[in-house]
Symmetry: C2
Subunit: 525 residues, 2 copies
């Protein structure tokens, strides 16, 4: 395994505009710019061009299995390959492709998935033996732990928001050599969808940018259908090879870790408080739109919102997915007019996509790329999001735990927070014996400038820059509390804050959606 | 009006691989490559990049009227502007925009429409006074006549196929400064569609490439709808301004010149012969797919095909539109499984698009760009297309009349012909007193290498390279005739062929779909 430079060390970092320290370049060759604020413009006027190809009819792109596909696209040492995570913890494709790459003796792969899950712990031996050189993408669970302990050094993982990842591809920050795109149905020319078939996973929003820009595109499917695939999410024009395999995934794994509504009475109370906040601030009226995070409290908010709208006869505008049955219910009851869906979190979302014309599949480019004419997140009234930590500057951490371990991806958190008129973070004041509200978050995922309200089981804190909200909530006699008070209360309840015991080596960079580095994550000692 | 060089003259042309003479550059700055064969690869590996933008929420892009939009995108002298022609002869947007440009004193505009129609004769004064400098696009009727008489000199019109025009944009051959995209519904962020609204025109296949690549995009709509527009054909991410106007078009004009089935008994006989040819050659079976031209004979073929499939219980695969009620009928009767629709030719097509999930909107990139991973036309079994002239090398002309006048666009003719397994040209042997089958076509639109069968009211000619077809049709005792015999018969019936009385100045270039010049059109004396 090549290691052109040692790991990035703390004393080589520069300070960004919110006082966090970040690198300016990485051993895998990324130039990094420090975060300067919410809306930095693109660095160049035009993105990278799409690859041009030559098509000669008649064409049949089907090959049997992954090895044949790898040969056909001439995948070789040092190339960058990408994957989407719509099959989440039920995904079989990433492991299958890396098994083949390993078997074929290809080395030094740059792995550029949207996100990896516990099922991908399988890859650790391939990191150790040099098959995989670096990873840029969200690491959920074991691979995050492995990275935190230095397993990927000297290469830092780069974590991007959903909108930021498509931005990075479109701007040419990351060039993909081969995109492997799991599809639950595809035809011989490569027209594909995730909406139908035995391994259906719904909208395939992550895959669009990879298909548009990768030098070679391999569709991996267990369901070859007669031409034309119906519906067509991504067209044949972006496809080089269709690899037929036995099984792309286990649909049971799609909802992993996301679709259980909370059963914790104090978090159900927090969810109710969110409705009260929105009500008091006057947001709950016809035309209201929202995005909910994947956590159990956010799901509870959606449920209560549906109940509220139904009771009051309000018709909202749209819900932006990750889509769940709770949102589908609102569409079907007529309390929202449309679902814009970039990824499904449960079976009801998958089924609704093909059934209801007002449930529309969108790309993550459309969802959240800020360097466009305007993504969906910039039209949202509200979002309800979770946190592992929140600090007194309203900065939010969703990536690391207070012990310093990198265990979660960024997802659409930052995109939603920055885009929405009102961004509400829901969190318990204390989780286990660990304070959630702190003086300083271990890692900044979403900057406090983009956060308006923090609703906890010990009161509601409003970002002082939102005087209007503060005024409305006061009038409604909601239990307001200063965020510093929350921090102090948490300290009082559990003693001092946990401080991560970390070293000097940067194991990950948190990239803000415009491509600037908002924070670094350090190796856990 | 700037005229950097004189017109391109005959003696400066070079010969291409089918013996036609073409320029190597033009005064508007295009480099032109001579045609070398059906499947020339792209010249470069990557296309031009998309423009990057900066989006800051909340956004409302709506302005009142065209002048406000022109100011907002800073349209200025010498810029290139583009339009789609989905509203065909009912389009009000092109004239409206050029009226505003003229009123505002902007000059030297490069006009890059997909096609112009008789209603756009209105632009002639703007060409004469220097508001419009050059035009690249299909000219149907009066503007073609005007160009043929030298009205646009020294600038040649460049006519492209539907697939070839998106190729030219994606490769960066033509850079669009401002795309004006008519939409029958759009929201404040610019999400748009042609499928619904009082001026609905159906699929908006032409507009995708313009939206993707134009430096600025203005949506022009008479139907501002609440966010999000439903359905969304082109997303807000590509849009800078939404211009609200009173009326974008007259839906009655959409079907102009295209949707009447022929009433000519000899052409109805020709249409029946096409079915016999396909039947004899063994093509008419489950999985059959086709594209029909917009002419009255092609429509008759579709009708007979629908009858045949219904009678025999055959289920075809797909029809590629220009979509008509005849194709919709097949989908609804279950004799085809899907319609892939890039443009509508009548009201039934428009209505079906929103009603039937197997009727899918596609871009012209997907329809026919040969420099991709594979467009739809490359998957077609058959196409039935018209001609103004056919010659003994099976070259087809659809652009000029035998008197030399440029009166028609290329459309998808060449894309369909090159892509399909079997390409059938339908034509009367003589039209008026003018032979259609000739020794040499006045202008080559589609090269004979891509044409398999010519069906006339005086017999069926098969391209000798298709020995297999010849054999099948002989066995079926169809009235085969050598193409030279057809030519001679036409001469016998009407005396000598008409020869266009043209001068030395090139008024138009016919660009083949890969970007190579296949022929030149000369000024009519």
């Amino acid at each position: 395994m090549a290691a052109p430079d040692g790991p990035i060390l703390k004393d080589g970092l520069v300070e960004n505009s919110i006082g966090r320290f970040v690198p300016t370049s990485t051993p895998q060759g990324r130039r990094v710019r420090p975060y300067r604020g919410l809306h930095s413009p693109p660095e160049v006027m035009r993105g990278i061009g799409r690859p041009l190809r030559r098509s000669v009819p008649p064409e049949n792109k089907v090959v049997e299995g992954i090895e044949a596909a790898i040969k056909k696209v001439e995948l070789s040492d040092g190339m960058v390959i990408s994957f989407h995570h719509h099959l989440r913890n039920g995904d079989l494709v990433v492991n299958m492709v890396l098994d083949a790459i390993h078997k074929m003796g290809i080395k030094d792969i740059g792995l550029f998935p949207t996100a990896l899950f516990p099922i991908h712990e399988h890859l650790i031996p391939y990191i150790k033996d040099g098959t995989i050189r670096w990873i840029e993408g969200s690491l959920n669970g074991p691979l995050g732990k492995f990275a935190s302990e230095g397993g990927l050094l000297p290469y830092p993982v780069i974590l991007r928001t959903h909108g930021g990842r498509t931005r990075a591809i479109e701007a040419g920050d990351v060039e993909i050599d081969v995109a492997f795109i799991a599809a639950s149905a595809a035809d011989q020319a490569g027209n594909m969808t995730g909406a139908v078939g035995p391994s259906a996973f719904g909208a395939m929003g992550f895959a669009f940018a990879d298909a548009w820009y990768a030098k070679k595109v391999v569709v991996v499917t267990d369901n070859l259908v007669p031409y034309p695939c119906t519906p067509i999410s991504i067209p044949s024009t972006y496809v080089d090879v269709v690899a037929k395999v036995d099984r792309i995934g286990d649909p049971e794994g799609i909802g992993w870790g996301t679709t259980q509504i909370t059963r914790d009475p104090k978090m159900l109370m927090v969810a109710r408080r969110v409705i009260e906040v929105l009500d008091a601030a006057g947001y709950l009226k016809d035309g209201f739109s929202f995005q909910a995070g994947a956590g159990g409290t956010s799901l509870a908010v959606v449920k209560y919102l549906g109940d509220y709208f139904k009771e009051k006869g309000i018709v909202g505008s749209f819900a932006m997915g990750g889509t769940t049955g709770y949102v589908v219910r609102m569409l079907e009851e007529g309390t929202i007019r449309a679902i814009l869906d970039a990824q499904a979190f449960d079976l009801e979302a998958i089924q609704s996509l093909t059934r209801n014309p007002n449930h529309m599949e969108v790309s993550h480019h459309h969802f959240g790329n800020p360097h466009t004419g305007g993504p969906i997140t910039h039209q949202q009234t509200a979002c309800f999001l979770g946190a592992t930590e929140v600090d007194i500057d309203f900065n939010v951490n969703v990536n690391t735990h207070s012990n310093g371990y990198l265990l979660h991806g960024t997802g659409g958190h930052t995109d939603a927070a920055v885009g929405s008129e009102v961004t509400i973070i829901t969190a318990p004041l204390i989780r286990g014996r660990i304070p959630v509200v702190r003086e300083r978050v271990t890692t900044v995922t979403t900057p406090g400038e983009a956060v308006d309200v923090v609703v906890t089981d010990h009161g509601i804190a409003v970002n002082p820059r939102r005087e209007d909200l503060l005024e409305s909530l006061k009038r409604a006699k909601l239990p307001l509390v200063d965020i510093e008070e929350l921090m102090k209360k948490a300290r009082r309840l559990v003693g001092r804050e946990m401080t991560a015991d970390v070293g000097d080596e940067v194991i990950a960079i948190i990239e803000y959606r415009t491509g600037e580095a908002i924070d670094s994550v350090f190796r856990v000692k």
